[in-house]
């Protein structure tokens, strides 16, 4: 038989391994549930079905499209091929403006309408999110 020391070590190693496997399982599982996918307006047009998961839509804010009301702001995101209407009632970042890149996070109501819960615009006037650049570059 093995000595007591060896036994202890085996138990210890087993515990370590088990906890590692368990934590990785947990992490991957919750990753699956909590990631947010990024789509361009054209990707949305190509969607087969609309699910209720949160998504991000990126592109340019279309010129002359922002309209402000006390309770909400609405605008249009375009990738110069397709467009999507967005409505949003929350605080907007400083660099949110027509003709600039934007990322809106929220829920799709249909292929033409996104109800946003968060607007991201980056803190540099020349900055364009790489996703947006890519989405625009495909045209």
């Amino acid at each position: 038989m093995y000595g007591k020391k060896v036994k202890l070590r085996i138990i210890f190693l087993f515990l370590v391994l088990a906890s590692i496997v368990f934590s990785i399982y947990l992490i991957l599982k919750s990753l699956e549930e909590n990631v947010v996918y990024f789509l361009s307006p054209s990707d949305i047009k190509d969607l087969k079905e609309i699910n209720t998961k949160k998504i991000r839509v990126g592109g340019m804010v279309k010129n002359q499209s922002i309209s402000v009301k006390p309770e909400a702001i609405s605008f249009v995101i375009t990738d110069f091929k397709n467009e999507i209407n967005v409505s949003y009632s929350g605080s907007v970042p400083n660099l949110f403006a027509e003709g600039k890149g934007v990322v809106a996070e929220g829920f799709l109501k249909d292929r033409n309408y996104l109800r946003a819960i968060k607007i991201l615009a980056k803190h540099d006037e020349n900055y364009m999110p790489p996703e947006v650049k890519e989405a625009l570059g495909e045209k």
Partner: protein, 625 residues
Amino acid sequence: MFSQIGYYSLILGLFFSFLIIPILIRNFKNTKIIDKRIFFVSFLQLFFVLISFGGLIFSFINSDFSNETVFNNSHTTKPLFYKISGTWGNHEGSLLLWLLVLTLFVFLFLIKSNNQPKKYRILTILFQQIIIIGFFLFVLKTSNPFNYLIPVPKEGLGLNPILQDPALAIHPPILYLGYVGSSIIFSSSLSAVILKYISQNWAKHIKVWILISWIFLTIGILLGSIWAYYELGWGGFWFWDPVENVSLMPWLCLTALLHCILVLEKKSLLTSWVVVLSISTFVLSMSGTFLVRSGILNSVHTFANDPERGVFILVFLFSLIFLSLIIFFVFHKQTNQFSNKVNLFSKETAIIFNNWFLMYFLSVVLIGTLYPIFLDVLTSEKISVGPPFYHKLIVPFLIPFLIFMSVVPNLKWIKSSFKIINFSLILLFIFSLIISFIILKINSNSTLINTILVSVSFYLFFITIKDFFNKSFKTYSQKIAHFGFSLLILSILLNSFFSTEIITNLKVGKKYSFTDGNIHFKKIETFQIKNYKSIIGHFTIKDKKNIIKMKPELRVYNQPNIVTSEADIKSTLFYDKFLVINLVKDSEFFNVRYQSKPFMIWIWISAVLLAVGGILSLTQRFNEK
């Protein structure tokens, strides 16, 4: 002028790095004492990097736009303070700062390690010089801060206005002191492995460096959070943004190291684990720099993207990891013969458990930060991992972690009995349960998990207070740091449960009413300040108890043409009132965001307490000598 001086002293600095290596190697082989020339050359190296950095600062002060870095990041109308801080507010300058801190630390290490064996000192400096040379080449080859521009432009492009801020002016240098401090830990543990010097003596000596980097990292992260709180206009202090995560990861690793170095110091145990942690801390700091600088992560920290830089740091990083793994596997021998029996109820075991928890938190943050990058590379699918992911994985494990942290720090080394779990502890636990239940009930937020979370953090809070009156085995530094941590968790929880927020779009002169009061937007005033136009909104906010006046500000900067919001924050001991406005399009509507955030100030105070605990421990170390 200053640019040229800066450039040539940088090259001279690199020359001295190459010069010092043969001296080190020769000195390592023969003679018993350290060669005086090493001090001299190391000093010259530091001196020339300092001159080079000074050259860059003066170029910024003089607005010398023949220098490309100055042109890209400065402007004549910028206030002097931000001209200076602009030096390290950009990619090139910040790397020069890295280099400066590296050379400074290696010199400090050299003069402060007199009581250590000669071979160990020389080998550590050798490893450190390899890292320094890597950084020299990186700066000179891919991000030279002294590039020429011909013809010389009349005006610069300006510094991003949101970086023109006092907290952010000192945030990078302090964070770098923490990051770079971990490089000394890395080099020193590698040479200690080679020389089989992983011992109690070594632990005692390296603990000073661990404390130094830990303190700076803590303060650096704190400054970044404070800045994000009042400048970014979201009213939060931690967003689980990848760039924040890369500073948190080395901090978690360093915290684990800080605890288990105690075991090595007192009991000569966990030698391999200490080495692994030392290597990982530095690797995480380096990869943090890589991820931020390469433009893979997108955030306020991202500077111009340049794939060449990314490749260079990646290659450099992998060679360092490879080197350290080889050294670890070839040279490292388990020194302890398991002679010290480890008891389950002892401080040693407790610290191992503490490390388990910290490693779990670390892996959550690591995977959450890296997974989107890998997925993008492999499948070109774009995803983002938001706060729900981290909350879901970290919060449930916080409960056992906090209970554990309240009970076990009073365990003794080697062996303790169950007696530590006594009547008063149970009484305190019931007391904290009741308190948190009442608090949550009053504010109608009492879900089971929230109640448990708040009770365990109250429990830890009371226990850490009780410990101040106890003649326990803890030192004051530990008591303060642990108290700070419990306060931090408690105020974060209460803050996140009881924050309220109102967002609306208002015209000047209009009122917005909510359940307990209203927001009145009275008027706006505009002023022309040196490099921006200031628009100040005058608001009165009425809530249940009182009426307050608030004046949030919008700044329209001339160069670059950017609008920033300056939130108006009224802080009291119990809550912060936070108001920020923003102009949407050119319409008459202002986007108004009003938040009431309880215990905000305690989050900052508790983080400061953590650092104070570290500083106290450091001063104790110095007094012992």
